[in-house]
């Protein structure tokens, strides 16, 4: 058996190593993720879009995106100063897309993050404790999920009034059942594992079991689903704006741009092509990343 002195000597060596330690698992995931070419492409696109969003003001001023200048109507794409052309009010489409990224991404990410927090709380309670609470939450959520999602969102927006924040709240509320379902499934798959019982056997209290054992092991699939959900939310938000019930003009937003442009798409198709591409590319990059992340988290699925 080890003596105290021996342990003391080892102590220094191991303390050094401990600094490297924590990385173990995430490093491994990152290594596998990096090998996945499509996932990396997705990540680069998304990082690019994020950078555009963050530095939007540095790229092109907000005024360019909203100031109407009728004399500049429908300048075709590729023209000097208007790479993507101009719209029916003579506003630069590229500028509107750059600034529109803020609203679109904000709604997508915001709705998912808040939704996941609420859904995560309820979902993990349902999954971990089971029994009556579980069946109550599941039943209620199943009922809500019967209501067509888009109609639920739209009626909430109608009740609250059309604005960015309200669309965000509406999407969040309407999607909470979905997140509860995801989190509950992830928690359930962990809660049945032997190491939960092993932790209980060595005296770990419930909240620490959730914190140290359940969450770290369940978080992977939740992050994957969340990543992909951001894409879906961006599409939904665009749909709401497209119907004219979300963000109101002249605020630049991709869906709203499509709504305005749809009347001119016959003669000026580029006015609908570019905003749509932006939505699609953003969602695609998120989906690619989510897919790669899933493979990286669970290499069993491959081969």
């Amino acid at each position: 058996m080890g003596t105290a002195t021996m342990a003391d000597i080892d102590l220094k060596k191991i303390d050094l190593k401990k600094k490297l330690k924590k990385k173990g698992h995430s490093q491994e995931i990152w290594r596998r993720f990096k090998k996945n070419r499509t996932a990396m492409v997705g990540m680069f696109i998304f990082v690019f879009i994020l950078l555009v969003m963050i530095f939007a003001d540095a790229i092109v001023s907000y005024d360019t995106a909203v100031t109407q200048k009728i004399s500049n109507r429908f300048i075709p794409p590729g023209s000097a100063g208007h790479l993507f052309g101009t719209d029916n009010f003579g506003r630069d489409i590229l500028a509107r897309i750059v600034h529109g990224s803020r609203n679109s991404l904000l709604m997508g990410i915001g709705a998912v993050v808040i939704g996941i927090v609420i859904g995560g709380l309820l979902g993990s309670i349902a999954g971990f404790y089971g029994g009556g609470i579980d069946s109550f939450i599941v039943r209620t959520m199943d009922t809500v999920m019967c209501i067509p999602l888009m109609l639920l969102v739209l009626s909430i927006v109608a009740a609250l009034g059309a604005s960015l924040v309200n669309v965000l709240i509406a999407m969040m509320i309407a999607n909470v059942p979905h997140y509860i379902r995801i989190v509950r499934a992830a928690v359930l798959s962990v809660a049945g594992q032997d190491y939960i019982e092993a932790a209980r056997a060595c005296g770990t209290p419930n909240f620490l079991i959730i914190l140290k054992h359940v969450i770290p092991n369940a978080i992977g699939p939740i992050i994957v689903q969340a990543t992909m959900a951001v894409g879906t939310m961006i599409i939904h938000a665009a749909g709401i704006s497209f119907l004219g019930m979300g963000i109101q003009p002249p605020t630049p937003e991709w869906g709203a741009m499509l709504n305005e442009a749809k009347n001119y798409m016959v003669d000026y198709p580029y006015t609908v092509i570019f905003p749509g591409l932006s939505i699609g590319l953003t969602a695609l990059s998120l989906n690619l990343m989510g897919d790669g992340l899933r493979d990286a988290l669970d290499p069993k699925l491959r081969d």
């Binding site: 019967c146 209501i147 999602l149 109609l151 009626s155 909430i156 109608a158 749509g276 939505i279």
Partner: protein, 310 residues
């Protein structure tokens, strides 16, 4: 089995009560009242007030809820505030277009999505698999209504092969069908592929191969049937979703479906139509999910046994 179905149908009742409650509650928050809608903005406050009183709109929310439920149970979903027509009649008038759109899209998406999904799984990592999954992911990433616009630009405006909007003939439906089937077909492909990959790895596939079964039958008889459960689930949910969730696509193609009815009603703050149509759609969705559960029983004897035991 019959008892199981009966029990499930019975469970529909409390579920619909909750749905009605949720939708009515949300709509109750909208700044709208029947008096203004029926009499118009120019009517006197008193006249509006009087009409609202007569329609019972000024009663507390809970009383109106109970009254609505008791009528709904007798099959009366009320009348539209806008034009006074019975809500049921409005829904019945709009339903065929929605159903045509949904069924066509399902058929297209199911055929293409499932076939490609099976092939991708069988030939995992092949060019077909890579291309198929990439295509599916791209389709799922672009908003359906935008894909619809692109199809209109290409096939209706440039090539002039197909009409761009309206519901005059079946030809009018071709673009909407393909548009709607995009995201459904994509999820079908992905789900079929994942599910097939899982079942192909099962031990009983090895048993079938060791028997000397041909590869074709190993896939069709053993792998596919076992992979169907999640596929059927997605099918049911998507079908239910398509009944009410194609609002944007209906808008693009000017199809007078139930989705459009609801969105128009939401815009007009025509509460009875919103509640009535949403409840109808939710009922359809639940019934579809019941059909899915019954299909489960046909596919998997283990589930059948569970139903019979209950």
């Amino acid at each position: 089995m019959a008892r199981y179905v009966f029990k499930r149908v019975l469970m529909l009742v409390p579920m619909l009560l909750i749905v009605i409650f949720i939708v009515s509650f949300i709509m109750n928050l909208t700044p709208s009242d029947p008096g203004t809608l029926i009499l118009g903005e120019r009517a006197t406050k008193d006249a509006i007030q009087e009409l609202n009183d007569r329609l019972g709109y000024n009663d507390p929310f809970f009383i109106r809820y109970v009254r609505y439920v008791s009528r709904a149970l007798r099959g009366d979903l009320g009348n539209s505030w806008k034009n006074g027509a019975p809500v049921i009649q409005e829904i019945v008038r709009r339903f065929p277009a929605t159903l045509t759109l949904a069924v066509g899209a399902i058929v297209i998406g199911l055929t293409i999505g499932m076939t490609l999904g099976i092939l991708s799984a069988v030939k995992q990592y092949s060019a077909l698999d890579v291309a198929g999954t990439a295509f599916a992911m791209a389709l799922a990433s672009f908003p359906g209504f935008w894909i619809g616009m692109m199809l209109i630009i290409l096939f209706a405006l440039k090539l002039r092969w197909l009409p761009s909007f309206g519901v005059g003939s079946m030809k009018h439906y071709i673009l909407p069908w393909f548009t709607t089937s995009c995201s459904f077909g994509a999820s079908m492909l992905r789900m079929t592929r994942t599910s097939m990959l899982e079942s192909i790895r099962m031990d009983y596939i090895r048993t079938a191969r060791a028997k000397g079964q041909t590869e074709k039958l190993v896939i069709l008889r053993h792998a596919l049937r076992n992979a169907l459960l999640p596929v059927v689930t997605i099918l049911g949910m998507s079908f239910g979703g398509l009944l009410g969730g194609t609002v944007t696509i209906e808008t693009v193609f000017s199809i007078p479906g139930v989705g459009s009815l609801v969105i128009e009603a939401i815009r007009m703050k025509d509460v009875p139509v919103v509640v009535g149509a949403t409840v109808t759609l939710a009922t359809c969705f639940t019934l579809l999910m019941l059909v899915v559960d019954i299909l489960y029983a046909f596919i998997d004897p283990r589930i059948r046994a569970r139903y019979i035991r209950h």
